[in-house]
């Protein structure tokens, strides 16, 4: 695989992403947390605490819109080429399949990060937070980490599951990252969400927050932030590596079903 391959794929994918549907999706994902938080601020008197708003912002931006955006951008990387009957053209070029995966991954996290950053800035502007600077920096860092790691795992799902990748991705997000991450057991240590929640608790929340209390039961809670960041980066590298290896092995059916 050469460097120009992923760049070429990323350029075309970026051009394709400026379609009305994708732009509309991006706007919806960016605006959704802002709309909900604005609704909360309008209807509750007195308004929720700064910490509660930060926790809600984390949930909406990191665990909902970033992840949903990546479900659209990253998961169907391979299946969309197969459905468009263009996979064979890529697969018969040196490192072509891997270029597709990496190129689309780069565009996916680009869109997710841009959407997340704007949402964070919007929330910081709207909500009565104590330290907007810390909030913005922490949340943006979390957006980048979440985009990279979830993007990699969803790309891996897309590489492993040739057909119906988005459905499997959805099941993974709900069952693993949604339900399992909340289970107070070793199993949840393997999830991306738990790592992000621990970082959230260390960077944003106060030590006596209820969320922090619930996270303290996990054995890795007290590890420094850098360790959790490294774990997330390792997840990213492993997921991308496995995806690239799977594509290298090949054997994708080039005729879409039906």
């Amino acid at each position: 695989m050469n460097l120009w391959g992923p760049i070429g794929v990323a350029i075309l994918e970026l051009k394709r992403s400026f379609s009305p549907f994708r732009i509309g999706t991006w706007v919806l994902m960016t605006a959704f947390p802002l709309l909900l938080i604005q609704l909360l601020l309008m209807r509750i008197s007195p308004p929720p605490s700064a910490e509660a708003l930060e926790a809600i912002a984390f949930f909406l931006i990191i665990r909902v819109v970033t992840v949903m955006g990546l479900l659209l951008w990253a998961t169907p990387a391979i299946s969309s080429e197969i459905e468009g009957r263009t996979w064979l053209y890529m697969a018969t070029r040196p490192g072509g399949g891997q270029s597709v995966l990496l190129g689309k991954y780069l565009v996916a996290i680009g869109w997710a990060i841009s959407s997340g950053f704007l949402a964070v800035l919007g929330v910081a502007w709207l909500a009565p937070l104590e330290d907007k600077g810390v909030f913005c920096l922490s949340m943006m860092g979390l957006v980048v980490l979440a985009s990279m790691t979830f993007g990699a795992t969803l790309s891996l799902i897309g590489a492993l599951v040739q057909r119906r990748a988005m459905v499997v991705g959805m099941i993974y997000l709900v069952v693993v990252e949604g339900v399992l991450s909340a289970v107070p057991a070793t199993l949840s240590e393997l999830t991306v969400t738990l790592r992000l929640q621990i970082l959230e608790s260390q960077w944003l929340l106060s030590p006596d927050s209820p969320l922090v209390e619930s996270l303290k039961t996990h054995s890795t809670f007290s590890l420094p932030s850098i360790v959790h960041v490294m774990i997330l980066l390792a997840y990213t590298a492993v997921a991308l590596g496995l995806a690239l290896w799977r594509i290298r092995v090949g054997g994708y059916l080039t005729d879409p079903e039906d």
Partner: protein, 322 residues
């Protein structure tokens, strides 16, 4: 130039009635989707929830003759289903509570496992149901036959309806019969004769809006992944919005949750299609005594169904006009 006699023009058989034409679309569509391995796996998985429901029916029927178990049933009704009224009746006379208990369990069956199953099932099958025909221009082949757009859409709708009914209506009817067979006396049939009709109505209420919405999304794009994404996003964002606003309702002194999730105000539940459908189904099963409380939800679901069908019709027909 004389017409060339190709032989088949001499066929003088009788064509099938127009009303069955849509079934040809349905039959072919079901054959095609049945080839999907993931679908077959999902259908097997979707039948698992009848086990706890069946066990629930069994325990309840046993409790009629065993007072110890009556307390357990009453507690479940109170804690899990947030129905202290039914719990009271169970403690007083379990037989009298049969209709309410059965209704609650069937409602829970439709509401939780099968609703999630529906989202996954339609997410698996529905995105390609029209988009693939548009992308591959197969619709030109369909409409070169004596087939109207309405018949085409009915056929497609029946594909989704059949799949969903296989995982909701059929298991619900089976568990109902199971409950009858487990009951200690024939009086159960007298008390619950209306349930097959309620099950069918709940299935219709469940299937029609969701299937027409899924078809609408599929008709808007030639790329099935966009339809798939839109489908999942609709449910996720609706649920999240509802969750945030319900927390708001609780903070303002509203009712808390319970397994029924009929918490929050009726207006709040309109932001989530899942919860609006739940309101309508609760009317069907008689859990919500006053249908006017679910008026908004009924209106929303009806409007959604009609608009979805009309827009889908327009979308498909516009390709023929192009």
């Amino acid at each position: 130039m004389p017409l060339i006699d190709l032989g088949y023009r001499r066929w003088d058989g009788v064509r099938s009635s127009r009303m069955w034409r849509a079934l040809a679309i349905t039959h072919t569509g079901l054959q095609l989707v049945w080839r999907t391995v993931w679908l077959r796996r999902l259908l097997w998985f979707a039948w698992l929830p009848i086990l706890p429901v069946g066990i629930g029916f069994f325990l309840y029927e046993q409790s009629i003759t065993q007072p110890d178990q009556q307390r357990m049933i009453a507690e479940i009704m109170e804690q899990a289903f947030d129905r202290p009224d039914v719990a009271e009746i169970v403690r007083r006379d379990p037989k009298e509570a049969r209709h309410e208990v059965w209704a609650q369990m069937l409602f829970a069956f439709f509401r939780y496992p099968q609703a999630i199953n529906m989202v996954l099932l339609f997410g698996l099958v529905a995105p390609r149901i029209i988009s693939h025909d548009l992308r591959s221009r197969a619709y030109l082949l369909y409409f070169s036959r004596p087939l109207s757009v309405a018949e085409y859409l009915i056929g497609k709708l029946l594909i989704l309806g059949t799949l969903l009914m296989m995982t909701t209506t059929v298991p619900a009817l089976i568990v109902y019969v199971f409950g009858l067979l487990l009951s200690p006396d024939i009086g159960a049939l007298v008390q619950t004769w209306d349930f097959p009709l309620r099950i069918l109505l709940a299935s219709l209420v469940f299937t029609l809006p969701t299937a027409s919405l899924a078809m609408l999304l599929s008709s808007f794009t030639m790329d099935s992944r966009y339809a798939s994404f839109a489908w999942f996003t609709l449910w996720v964002l609706g649920w999240v919005t509802y969750g945030v606003l319900t927390g708001l309702d609780v903070a303002e002194g509203g009712s808390g949750g319970g397994i029924t999730l009929l918490s929050g105000s009726p207006t709040t539940r309109l932001v989530s299609l899942y919860h609006a459908l739940g309101d309508v189904q609760s009317v069907v099963f008689g859990i919500l005594r006053d249908p006017s409380a679910a008026q908004s939800a009924i209106m929303l679901v009806s409007v959604l169904t009609i608009v979805s069908i009309l827009v889908t019709y327009y979308r498909v027909a516009s390709h023929l006009r192009a």
